[in-house]
Amino acid sequence: MMRDIRLLDAPFNPGALVGPFTNANPGLGGVCTFVGEVRPDAAVEALELTHYEPLTLPGMHALADRAFDRFDLMGLLMVHRVGLMHPGEPIVCVSAAALHRRDAIDAVDFCMDHLKSAAWFWKRERRAGAWHWIEPRAQDATDLARWQG
């Protein structure tokens, strides 16, 4: 079982992670990968993601545990940026390897919904030289509710 959970404080190349991850899961039927990037927004100069080490990384590991419990996975890669980021930079990469595509796709969907709404990250944007904290979005709560019950 391949399991790679990381917080990175510098830019990363998702392809350089997903290739070796795929090769580390011989016999897989499929690999699903989601890469999120900082969206360009004319008004946003930079994005900063703060984490609290004693909660954030254990929280990601707990999420990985739940994904392994819920889906039939061979491997899971979950990498998240922290620190100062600029538009176009990858912010998150989740990759799941499984015998069957349904498990791989659903596991990525599940991990992304939880990372985007329930993970221990605090986000702020710099607009016109001033920092603004980002509030949770209603859509994130809706996405999360899909996995309950």
């Binding site: 999120g36 998240h80 998150v92 985007k116 709404s117 990250f121 605090w122």
Partner: protein, 79 residues
Amino acid sequence: MITVVLLGKLADLGGAPSLSLGAPLDWAGLKAALPETLAAVLDEPRNRVALNGVLLADKALLQAGEGDEIALLPPVSGG
């Protein structure tokens, strides 16, 4: 000393990402020792508290001693 780590917008209200306060501290003592604008929002249920990396189920029962780390956690915005 007790380290108080302030996350997200609570760091703005506290004026710094972390503070050092004298031990020991209970919930009332912590609020009394913090800037008033920060102390004023700490009882809001959506602001959570962790002691040494463990979330408190009831922050009003906080008991922190020498060398402990308190984290004040506003709602996450997610990844």
